[in-house]
């Protein structure tokens, strides 16, 4: 018994040590003037894997040095919190401006960050679509079909998933337009979430619930993630249904000014983000199923991205207002679950 306890303790100490060493290793790597840490949210892995390769090439040709580019993924809010609490990110590329605003509040990023790059610092966009099983057995065509009895809807919890906040806003915008009053739109959200059997904490988990666990009839998904799911499972496994109205999801990017200044990576970080707007990068963006901004890339991927009516976060008065009204404690989402004020 004693021996066993000892060895277990050693194993734990070893595991702890290994973890600490790997963390310190990462931090040390990121703190060098020629390396850059991009702290991103879950579904951008493919995009930034491709983009980093391209950008490293470009930077090498321009300056003669090959930059060490790394990225980390997680829920958008959790990633923002990690940066606030000291993760030495040089740039952040998150799911919504609210999360970068939260970092800006601590002074790590300039308050006017969103006006520093074109298009409100969102070099690519996406939208919320429905992913249904092959053949669309429940005949889902629009938001109205999601509240029918017997339809199970999968979406992550918007409080823990930045991505899912766009889902709620898109649903609300459609209901407000269709039913004409905020009360009825709220009632629609209530009915919608009554059809949600599982609230995962992040969009990645929700996708797994839908695709691997085979739960639910429809997944509310970012368009890029819907395409990725089909790509992974093979053609004919799922179908994308485009609703009559959705929201323009604008995932923003910013240099983390103080960290970049400390690491001496400001020039590299700024170039890294600016380069996202170049035609080559925009092509990679389209290839990774995000909607590009550049007209040439838009034309090239026009078949991939159907045109639809899109509302924007501006119609909700920006993220600060939308957050307070919908997702804060006692807000509309809380009321849907009976925690009303």
């Amino acid at each position: 018994m004693t021996d066993l306890t000892l060895s277990r303790r050693h194993a734990l100490a070893f595991a702890g040590g290994a973890f600490a060493a790997s963390t310190i290793g990462r931090v040390a790597q990121a703190a060098d003037a020629n390396s850059l840490l991009n702290v991103s949210y879950d579904p951008t892995a493919g995009l930034y894997a491709d983009y980093n390769e391209m950008f490293a090439d470009y930077w090498q040709k321009k300056t003669g040095v090959t930059p060490k580019l790394s990225y980390s993924h997680g829920g958008s809010g959790a990633q923002a919190r990690a940066v606030i609490e000291g993760l030495p990110a040089d740039v952040v590329t998150l799911a919504l401006a609210y999360d970068i605003d939260a970092i800006a509040k601590t002074g790590l990023i300039a308050k006017d960050w969103q006006s520093r790059l074109p298009d409100g610092s969102t070099p690519y966009t996406s939208t919320i679509v429905f992913l249904v099983r092959a053949g669309n057995p429940k005949g889902i065509k629009d938001w109205g079909d999601l509240v029918k009895p017997g339809v199970q809807v999968i979406t992550p919890n918007p409080e823990t998933s930045g991505g899912a906040r766009w889902n709620v806003l898109a649903a609300y915008a459609w209901a407000l337009k269709t039913y004409g009053s905020p009360d009825k739109a709220k009632a629609y959200l209530h009915a919608l979430f009554a059809n949600v059997p599982v609230l995962d904490t992040g969009s990645h988990g929700a996708t797994l619930t839908f695709t691997q666990r085979k739960i639910g009839d429809v997944l509310l998904a970012w368009e890029n993630e819907a395409f990725l799911s089909i790509k992974e499972a093979g053609a004919g496994s799922y179908e994308i249904i485009v609703p009559s109205l959705s929201i323009l999801a604008e995932p923003p990017v910013s240099v983390v000014d103080k960290n970049a200044a400390k690491h001496g990576t400001t020039a590299l970080a700024t170039a890294y983000l600016k380069h996202l707007y170049t035609p080559e990068a925009q092509d990679i963006i389209g290839k990774n199923f995000y909607r590009p901004r550049d007209p040439a890339a838009v034309a090239k991927y026009a078949d991939q991205f159907p045109k639809l009516q899109l509302t924007t976060i501006k119609q909700f008065g920006g993220w600060q207002q939308a957050q307070a009204k919908f997702f804060a404690t006692g807000g509309i989402f809380d009321q849907v679950y009976g925690n009303g004020s």
Binding site: T209, R213, T329
Partner: protein, 286 residues
Amino acid sequence: MSASLSAPRAQARWRPHSILPGFRPTFIITLIWLGAMVVGPLGVMLWFTAGLGWSGFLAIISQPRVLGDLWVSLWTAFTASALNAVFGLLVAWVLTRYRFPGRRIADAMVDLPFALPTAVAGIALSTLYAPQGWMGALLAPLGLQIAFKPAGIVVAMMFVSLPFIVRTVQPVIDDLEPEQEEAARLMGASALQIFWRVQFPAILPALLTGLTLALARCLGEYGSIIFIAGNKPMVSEILPLLIVSQLDQFDYQGATAIGTLMLAVSFLLLFAINLLQAWVRRRHGG
């Protein structure tokens, strides 16, 4: 926590010199260690909470969502620990009293929940118990669904807390004196009577210790549960998830207030069980 509370009641004053040397350095290290590992983190949490003021704190913790999630956390933790007390005791009994091939492997397996990353456990359990999974598919015709229901929380909690019961009870079962058993048998006691009147009272204090540890583990567990619970507010959402949810919205005060509530409730529960344990010990002359 349990160890300090259940230790024999010492007089609350400085003991004069023990015959063993090294009191001063070890005592100082103890204080530093407890301060850095326990008092520090909890103190920071209480400090943050104190910034809210009493009314602010009450306003947060009296929300229906907080209370609803607290209830979910409590009943699932109690159910899981109670089930584990029964089945964990059985496992400990079999592993200690019987010799069979593969016993050492079975014994080592009890520790796996300690070592496995809880997220891995959660994903494995939800795969297994999802309606399409191996176990889930067997239970589905009976109308039972485990994954994505409150029952899923109980299953995840039972997984992570099993070793606590088994490992605390095992040494006591091992130490049961065969003479007592033989004496009881000679005096005409039946097998059931021997277990119930002779052996169980000796095991009970250890079982309660295990139960306390298991309950604490269940209440604090997060990683494995979120994958298998449905996470629906006030139905299958545990309180630690609500804390994470507040943090994800940068509501640090809300998160710390709920954390403090959780700490207070857990402390009261553990304290109550320790009192019960002390009473049992005295009654059975443990």
